[in-house]
Symmetry: C2
Subunit: 176 residues, 2 copies
DNA sequence: TCCATCATGTAACCAGTTACATGATTTC
DNA sequence: GAAATCATGTAACTGGTTACATGATGGA
């Protein structure tokens, strides 16, 4: 259960329609929790049924604006303070590294170089996100910035890691 | 589709029964791709139906040993070289950080300290894994070691990141 | 003979993806 | 009047989780 909490979190920040939330997912949240349109509408229905959010306004084209309820805030707090029941960590890219021995050394090397290139590009993308806007003293902004910092540091760490593996592998191939 | 490839990868390294694979998942692979018993048996059935693996031996208690087929190796290679269709990155812990503004500053701070403690423990766990066995010159071992290195570096990066956020947050709270 | 371990499977459920489907309003 | 955008929903399918269910074999 977790798109649930992403949606609840956005509505806690401020009310909006499914359509609004979808945009907010695509902008700020895409890097930590991407969501598709159909899933979001479905979840909003369930959240409303459960009384965690309610329709706070109606607009043209059947627009329904939702707002979080007290029960919703309580549920959000509960989730925020229960990291122990997050889903287990899974990483297809790491799984691939684990099995890289099934490819030829040349292919493995090329794969690792691709990881390095990709990580460097991602790192640059985060740098641009950081530099292309002002970061206010606002509380919300602060944690958005903190999440971004995590992106910066992880992409950097991954690029460095790839360099390390490449170097080790090259040493092995050219005989000690 | 990805437990599929984890299982295929293990069988590429060498044949085994569902029960064997389950143990190998729990040992070496748990950190990159955990799997449950029921899912694994189901997947082995599907892989066999698809002709990617085949029963290579029968033992007591209905034991079925599976081995990878040529078609299976081909599929594994295809997946190994197609990182572009990996599932999108999702992280509940990062989502939580993103929404940390919904908690009080004191609670947020405590949460970040918990992340730091946890990351340090995980880092120590990986160090122990590294030091508690010999790493041979073997090709397979090499990539297992590379995946472990990634665990070491990421847990370190996360602990450092948490320290950074904590420091920033403390500065904000004590007035500039 | 009892216990641990070996060994396999099924069913109900939840989360997420892709594709399909429809229509109203605003802007040029 | 046409096109972009606003706006919501459904259906079929895949992957993963928890819980249930059963039984054979080997060693003390």
């Amino acid at each position: 259960v977790s798109l649930r909490h992403a949606a609840l979190g956005l509505l806690a920040q401020h009310p909006g329609s499914g359509y609004d939330l979808l945009k907010r997912f695509q902008e700020s949240m895409a890097n930590v929790w991407p969501a598709t349109q159909s899933q979001l509408y479905g979840e909003l229905g369930k959240l409303a049924d459960a009384g965690l959010i309610k329709v706070s306004d109606l607009g043209p084209r059947g627009r329904k604006e939702y707002a979080i309820t007290d029960a919703g805030r309580a549920e959000l707090r509960r989730w925020m303070t229960s990291p122990q029941d997050d889903p287990p960590f899974r990483s297809a890219p790491l799984l691939r590294v684990f099995l890289l021995g099934e490819l030829s050394p040349a292919e493995a090397l090329e794969h690792l170089r691709a990881i390095r290139r990709f990580s460097e590009r991602e790192h640059a993308r985060y740098e641009q996100m950081r530099d292309s806007r002002e970061w206010s003293e606002d509380h919300r902004d602060f944690f958005g910035r903190a999440a971004l910092e995590s992106g910066l540091r992880f992409t950097k760490a991954r690029a460095d890691w790839a360099s390390w593996v490449i170097q080790q592998l090259e040493r092995r191939l050219n005989g000690s």
